[in-house]
């Protein structure tokens, strides 16, 4: 009985400690952001590996998510004779929910895991310690550009995802299902609001970018410097990011849309 209580207490303390370390870590990284202004090439390199290399999976999934949404939405809407509203359905679901969330999940799998593995291996091979020996702050030099790159990339990727999804839905809707292209766009434009839908989706994706980047770099920085530790940290990045993104999305949706 006491042993059970001790185990609960230990795991609670451990997770609270992790949360505290992660917060302090984030604050230190934010304080070190000034370095990035002086060395923008660090950011460009990370934007390439975090953003550009994720583009392929985002483009392909965006197209297919849009196409599937169009098919499924059409079969439901046609029962009510409302297939002209297909554009509204697709655009609202993509801008409000699917765009930011699916992009963040894919981002966690593609870029977040890579970030964790990279930083974890740097720690395991003592490159981070070596940098500190040379009086180079790894938090400014290694962590900050990666965090900012995630923060910038995710909203951009989400916008591309949403646009391609709508494009895919348009192609499927007009060519395969016979929805009128004109009313597809005009009903969409009449119902989708920039401030309520597009802007809220953008805010969501910025927050998801911060969360995904933060979890990824922290797990890499905080991992056990062994091969098993790096592997566990990578898995944890994907799992924790996915759960946090889904939970945060619920909270944000409840706050944003009434």
């Amino acid at each position: 009985m006491v042993g059970l209580l001790q185990r609960i207490g230990a795991s609670t303390l451990a997770s609270l400690g992790t949360l505290g370390r992660a917060t302090l870590f984030l604050l230190r990284v934010i304080r070190g952001l000034g370095e990035l202004v002086r060395r923008p090439h660090l950011l460009v390199q990370e934007l390439y590996s975090v953003g550009v290399l994720t583009l392929v999976i985002i483009v392909v999934s965006g197209l297919f998510v849009g196409m599937v949404l169009a098919l499924q939405g059409y079969y439901t809407l046609v029962d009510f004779g409302a297939e002209q509203s297909l554009g509204v359905l697709v655009a609202l679901s993509l801008t409000r929910e699917l765009g930011p969330v699916v992009t963040a999940l894919l981002f966690a799998g593609r870029a977040g895991s890579a970030l964790t593995a990279e930083i974890g291996l740097m720690k395991a091979t003592e490159q981070l310690a070596g940098m500190e020996m040379m009086a180079v702050d790894p938090e400014r030099r290694i962590i900050a550009p990666r965090l900012v790159a995630a923060l910038i990339s995710l909203p951009l990727l989400a916008m591309i995802f949403i646009l391609l999804g709508i494009g895919g839905a348009y192609v499927v809707g007009t060519s395969l299902l016979g929805v009128d292209g004109g009313s597809f766009w005009s009903q969409m434009q009449a119902q989708v609001s920039f401030t309520d839908d597009v802007l809220n989706g953008l805010i969501k994706s910025v927050l998801f970018g911060l969360v995904a980047g933060w979890i990824a770099v922290f797990n890499g920085y905080d991992c056990l410097p062994t091969s098993a530790g790096v592997s566990r940290a990578t898995t944890r990045t994907v799992v924790v990011t996915s759960l946090v993104v889904l939970g945060l999305d619920f909270v944000l949706t409840a706050l944003m849309f009434d």
Binding site: Q45, S193, V198
Partner: protein, 162 residues
């Protein structure tokens, strides 16, 4: 150095593509220009029933969108719905006895406010009230009226198919 240059180009293209996507979403999908046009004037109209009319629904005259619904509230004194219509400043010469009615585009389409011009010489101005209004058609009322007088062909019935 060549390598970092091409990387910078690719990153630039990525950022540009993302921003362009946001721009297209703003312009093409949500039509930001149509409802942000603030240079209009606002008139109000009281309806007994607005049906499914919503904020930002179009205001049309002769089928042409000339404004947007900018607010729907219940007037606590009259127990009628007070609908604010913001009309584009280009159309500042509408007769003061213009009539407003709530219509539906298509059978299941969105509802909009349709304006029919009157014949008075003076124009509607900011803050004016549109006196002649026709409420939204409520399907249940229509059905119950139809059931009351099975003979059918009365004025309300033909008003629905207009």
């Amino acid at each position: 150095m060549e390598n970092s240059r091409s990387m910078e180009i690719v990153v630039g293209a990525f950022v540009a593509a993302g921003l362009a996507a946001l721009f297209v979403l703003a312009m093409q999908v949500s039509n930001i220009t149509a409802f942000q046009r603030a240079d209009g004037y606002t008139v109000e109209a009281y309806f007994q029933n607005v049906g499914g009319l919503r904020d930002r629904a179009p205001v049309r005259m002769g089928g042409v969108p000339i404004g947007r619904v900018s607010g729907i509230t219940l007037d606590p004194a009259r127990f009628e719905a007070r609908v604010e219509l913001t009309i584009d400043a280009r159309y500042d010469d509408l007769p003061s006895d213009t009539a407003a009615s709530i219509r539906t585009s298509g059978l299941l389409g969105e509802q909009y406010v349709s304006l029919q011009p009157g014949g008075m010489p003076d124009a509607l101005e900011d803050g004016d009230e549109i006196m002649l209004t026709q409420s939204a058609l409520v399907l249940e009322d229509l059905v119950s009226q139809f059931l009351y007088n099975q003979s059918g062909d009365d004025g309300d019935g033909s008003g629905g198919s207009e």
